[in-house]
């Protein structure tokens, strides 16, 4: 107890500054630059609204992340449940009084920003679970009460997000939650059981899907069936990526992008645009940067002493990985089109805010890695 207090208390600001993970910081900055340039390309090589607001958001949220990094990791542990409850409250707020856009009610108006709480939930769920399992004993993890509570924690936001309706985000929340649950030590058999249950209930779930969601899933299996309708996005995305070739068409020269063949090019399909202009090599480079980020987060988690920090880092790294792979698989035609942004790259404040909060918790873990949480 003594040792612990001494360790944390004696750290000076400069020591903290020194212990920041600079590789991670640099990688995030590089991503910021790349995403800003990509945004510039989606605006057709002009400094327009999307580019400006993306750059502004990146700068604000990056600074915010840097500042929040110096918060003691104990703060995050202490506010873990609160964080979750606040976000859950926002979700309920969104479904009651939220702003509706393109048929989905997923934003709350906070006067200075239109916040999408479902994006924040992606992080909040990890923090919440990390706190929950930090306390739990290994032999208690698989008992009924300790299975039921996390289940409720997970299902509640998922139901709220599905009803918005936002299938993509709810799937991503589910995936990050499930991964954290598994990492925390829940017996694999429960996953298998629930997987089987899901499979059986699938027909009933499909019956409840909105027609356009059903169409998307059907389209995934056969995009050429209706090339100008539902299959349009996936076909155009594949054309853009495929025509990029080894080195790409060049910055600002992606014809699929600037001639508006690409749908949602600054959000979900930002990777398509990037890949068309920078080709296979550019895509590999981007993947490499994401890889380094994930590796750094895992490494920080490994060196963390508290279970909370460790589980959060592992969980966060895994969910970033899931977000990236789901997004890329989607634009590459490996998965059906569900709305899922590419972290940092895609246009969208809430997603960027959530990711940056995640990074600041990771960074805090790094700075306070010797910290033991009661």
């Amino acid at each position: 107890m003594f040792k612990q207090t001494a360790l944390s208390g004696q750290t000076t600001f400069f020591q903290k500054l020194r212990s920041i993970d600079y590789i991670l910081i640099v990688c995030i900055l590089i991503l910021g630059v790349i995403s800003s340039l990509a945004m510039y390309a989606t605006d057709g090589g002009e400094l327009l609204y999307h580019t400006k607001s993306h750059v502004l958001r990146f700068i604000i949220f990056f600074v915010m992340m840097f500042v929040l990094s110096f918060l003691n990791i104990r703060f995050w542990h202490a506010t873990g449940y609160l964080f979750y409850i606040v976000v859950l409250g926002l979700l309920i707020w969104a479904s009651l009084y939220g702003i509706t856009a393109s048929g989905s009610q997923r934003w709350v108006d906070l006067y200075f920003i239109n916040l999408q709480p479902s994006e924040l939930m992606k992080i909040a769920i990890i923090v919440c679970f990390a706190k929950f399992y930090h306390r739990a004993q290994i032999n208690q993890i698989n008992n009924f009460k300790n299975l039921l509570v996390p289940m409720m924690i997970l299902i509640l936001p998922i139901l709220l997000v599905v009803s918005q309706p936002d299938l993509g985000t709810s799937i991503l929340i589910a995936l990050s939650g499930i991964i954290v649950l598994w990492l925390a030590g829940i017996n694999l058999k429960y996953f298998i059981y629930s997987g089987l249950f899901l499979l059986i209930s699938m027909p009933f779930v499909i019956a409840f899907l909105k027609p356009y969601q059903k169409l998307r899933i059907l389209t995934f299996f056969n995009p050429d069936k209706d090339p100008l309708g539902a299959g349009y996005q996936i076909i155009q995305s594949k054309i853009a990526i495929g025509s990029g070739g080894l080195t790409g068409k060049g910055f600002l020269k992606g014809t699929q992008g600037y001639l508006e063949f690409l749908p949602e090019k600054h959000t979900d399909f930002i990777f398509t645009l990037f890949s068309e202009e920078h080709g296979f090599i550019g895509s590999l480079a981007l993947l490499f940067i994401y890889g380094v980020i994930i590796y750094r987060v895992i490494d920080i988690g490994k060196n963390a002493r508290s279970f909370f920090s460790k589980l959060f880092c592992f969980g966060f790294a895994s969910s970033i990985f899931v977000f990236i792979t789901v997004n890329m698989s989607m634009v590459l035609g490996l998965l059906p089109i569900v709305g899922s942004p590419l972290p940092i790259m895609s246009y969208g404040g809430s997603s960027m805010l959530a990711t940056m909060i995640g990074f600041s918790i990771v960074m805090s873990t790094k700075i306070y890695q010797k910290q033991i949480i009661a």
Partner: protein, 659 residues
């Protein structure tokens, strides 16, 4: 807090670490999968997707090709392209479309029907596509638009080209006309299909149709980069189209115009031909119509007027009209009889006005009869009785051979006009094959005066006359001017050579060879004699001279005594209906007979008599007698033809010098 470091805590940590390790391995595999997919798309299938991407972004716009001109022998444009003023609007670029349209309606006086049509068209096309408000603005309208242009933002006055026939109705049947390409045109003609753009005008009939592939020209091509909505972003490439070939004709606009004038308010045809080169100098069919009407889609009113005209303006009588040649066939009948040694020039017949043969009465046109006539007189006064007797001796089959040889019953322009008709020269064989009945001898008699089954086109009669007038040599009629074609001098010497050649083996008895064999070597027969003994041809020509220039000749009243213009001809009056005995008694004046039952008036002629160069045929449908309705037209025309000859020679010499 001991739990943190206790056994349980250790187990928890090792679980999470172990599971994270598994997770990391899985991540690597998934990343590998994504990279593989990227590799497949971007490296392996790059070509495929690159093509697809280009297909997405590049669009070609074909511009309408510029059609080749038609010009006459003297270089006058008789079909060309006119600059037209059009008004285009791109709805997307207009702030207030309704307001603009209402303003335009008031300025241009667009009627409500057209106005609705334009609005309908607008709703059918994309907002950035050009909407053509008017295809052909008058100069007044164009000036007005330009005056108000500052308040008509979005309206674009445009200069374009459209087919134009400056001589209106004068060349309609000869040239044909163009109109908007139909579904059928696209199916039938590959070339049209290849260069088709909306609003393309193509030849519908006549030379415009026949020479479509030469005239059409090639499209200009604009290659644009377009965005996903089809909007043009920027021009990548522009290839200028090539204008279609200009086609020069052998016709003389001045003579053609006079033909039009002469046949005004009549139904009929006039054809004029160079008897050596075969150049068609004029070919007019009346009534005609203005081909410019078809350019922008003919109005209902105009179309009905053309369609309901009892004189049927749509028929090109010169090549489509089939009529019994009447007495104009007599020179051929006479020639055939002489060639086949059926009679001699001294043979005489006593004409009493009618003759009984095979139990039937055959009338001469002159009820009182011609008295005793020889062949020369018979041609001169067109004595039917003489020809009944002569053709009885000749027989229809020998007449058939001679007539066909001289161009009757065969298409004159083989293939130049799709609508050209063959006509009919009967024979015993023909009747057996088509009607299934045997030839009746009485039919030979009426065939001998150009009635009965016999049907010819006015152009065939012109060719027949030309081939007689040049001394009896085969020529090739043409309407398309060709620099490389044989000159008058060359043809003349060629004919002379062939004449002497025939003279040297005169002893040969097979001068009249089977025509079916000759047909195969049609072109090799060019400039070869069509006769066995040229004296026979000369005799017929001289008799035709008498017919026009001697007292009692049927066309004596239309003669020109000036040697320079003097011509020789043969009249013809062909019956449309069998004349009954009562009618014969009544001897009605032409005005008393219903139009449809009146005789056709015909006249064939050549001139100048000394050194003839031109032959013509005049046909006036239901015009009455050849001597009163047809021959006077020829007299007026001949003056022009001869006067124009010098001009023509000048142009010809100039064109020779250019080579």
């Amino acid at each position: 807090m001991f739990g943190e470091g206790g056994d349980s805590g250790y187990k928890k940590l090792s679980t999470v670490n172990r599971r994270m390790f598994i997770m990391t391995a899985a991540k690597l595999v998934v990343f590998g999968g994504i990279i593989t997919r990227l590799f497949t798309l971007q490296i392996n299938e790059n070509k495929k997707y690159l093509t697809l991407s280009d297909k997405n972004r590049l669009r070609e716009w074909r511009l309408p090709p510029v059609r080749g001109d038609f010009e006459d022998f003297f270089g006058n444009k008789i079909a060309s392209n006119l600059k037209v003023y059009q008004l285009h609007v791109v709805p997307e670029q207009v702030e207030d479309f309704r307001y603009l349209m209402i303003r335009l309606r008031d300025i241009l006086n667009i009627d409500s029907h057209t106005f609705k049509k334009i609005l309908k068209k607008k709703s059918q096309q994309k907002s950035w596509e050009t909407l053509i408000i008017s295809e052909n603005l008058s100069w007044d309208q164009f000036a007005k638009i330009n005056f108000y242009l500052h308040e008509l933002s979005g309206a674009k006055p445009v200069l374009s080209v459209a087919r134009n026939y400056p001589y209106d109705e004068k060349f309609t049947h000869l040239l044909g006309y163009v109109a908007q390409a139909s579904e059928k045109d696209l199916i039938e003609n590959e070339v049209i299909k290849k260069s088709h753009v909306p609003g393309l005008r193509v030849g519908k009939i006549g030379l415009e149709k026949t020479y479509e592939n030469q005239l059409i020209g090639s499209n200009g091509i604009q290659r644009y980069e377009v965005n996903a909505y089809g909007k043009r972003i920027n021009q990548i490439d522009f290839v200028e189209g090539k204008k279609g070939t200009n086609i020069k004709l052998t016709v003389d606009t001045e003579i053609q115009a006079q033909c039009n004038e002469l046949l005004k308010d009549k139904a009929g045809s006039i054809c004029v031909m160079d008897i050596y080169t075969g150049d068609l100098i004029a070919m007019h069919s009346s009534p005609s119509f203005d081909p410019n009407l078809f350019l922008y889609g003919i109005s209902h009113e105009n179309w009905n007027e053309i369609l309901n005209n009892p004189k049927k303006p749509l028929i090109n009588r010169s090549i489509q009209g089939l009529y019994p040649p009447g007495s104009t066939i007599k020179p051929i009948v006479a020639l055939s009889a002489l060639e086949n040694d059926v009679i001699s020039t001294k043979f005489k017949v006593n004409c009493t006005g009618k003759t009984e043969m095979y139990g039937q009465t055959y009338h001469c046109w002159k009820d009182t009869g011609h008295g005793i006539v020889n062949l020369r007189d018979a041609l001169k006064v067109s004595c039917d009785t003489f020809f009944y007797e002569m053709s009885r001796r000749l027989g229809v089959d020998r007449l058939n051979l001679t007539a066909k040889k001289f161009g009757l019953g065969e298409k004159v322009f083989n293939g130049t006009y799709n609508e050209e008709k063959k006509g009919l020269i009967p024979s015993t064989q023909w009747k057996k094959n088509t009607l299934g009945r045997g030839w009746v001898l009485g039919e030979t008699l009426i065939t001998g005066i150009g009635q009965g089954y016999m049907q010819t086109t006015p152009l065939q009669l012109c060719l027949m006359t030309a081939q007689l007038a040049n001394g009896g040599f085969k020529i090739k009629p043409k309407i398309i001017y060709d620099k490389k074609s044989d000159s008058y001098e060359k043809i003349k010497s060629e004919m002379e050579k062939n004449r002497i050649e025939l003279l040297s083996d005169f002893q040969q008895d097979d001068a009249l060879v089977d025509f079916s064999l000759e047909k195969k070597k049609r072109d090799t027969d060019l400039y070869k004699p069509l006769y066995r003994n040229q004296e026979n041809v000369k005799f017929v020509l001289e008799a035709m001279f008498a017919s026009t220039n001697e007292v009692r000749g049927t066309s004596y009243s239309s003669r020109i005594s000036d040697k320079k213009y003097q011509f020789a001809g043969k009249t013809g009056t062909s019956q449309v209906k069998k004349i009954t005995e009562i009618q014969r008694e009544l001897d009605l004046d032409i005005s008393q007979i219903p139009y449809k039952e009146r005789d056709h008036a015909l006249f064939v002629a050549f001139g100048p008599y000394v050194n003839p160069r031109y032959a013509l045929s005049v046909f006036v449908e239901h015009g009455g007698s050849g001597s009163s309705a047809a021959a006077p037209l020829a007299k007026k025309l001949f003056k022009t033809i001869v006067d124009r000859h010098e001009e023509r020679e000048k142009v010809r010499e100039k064109s020779l010098m250019v080579i």
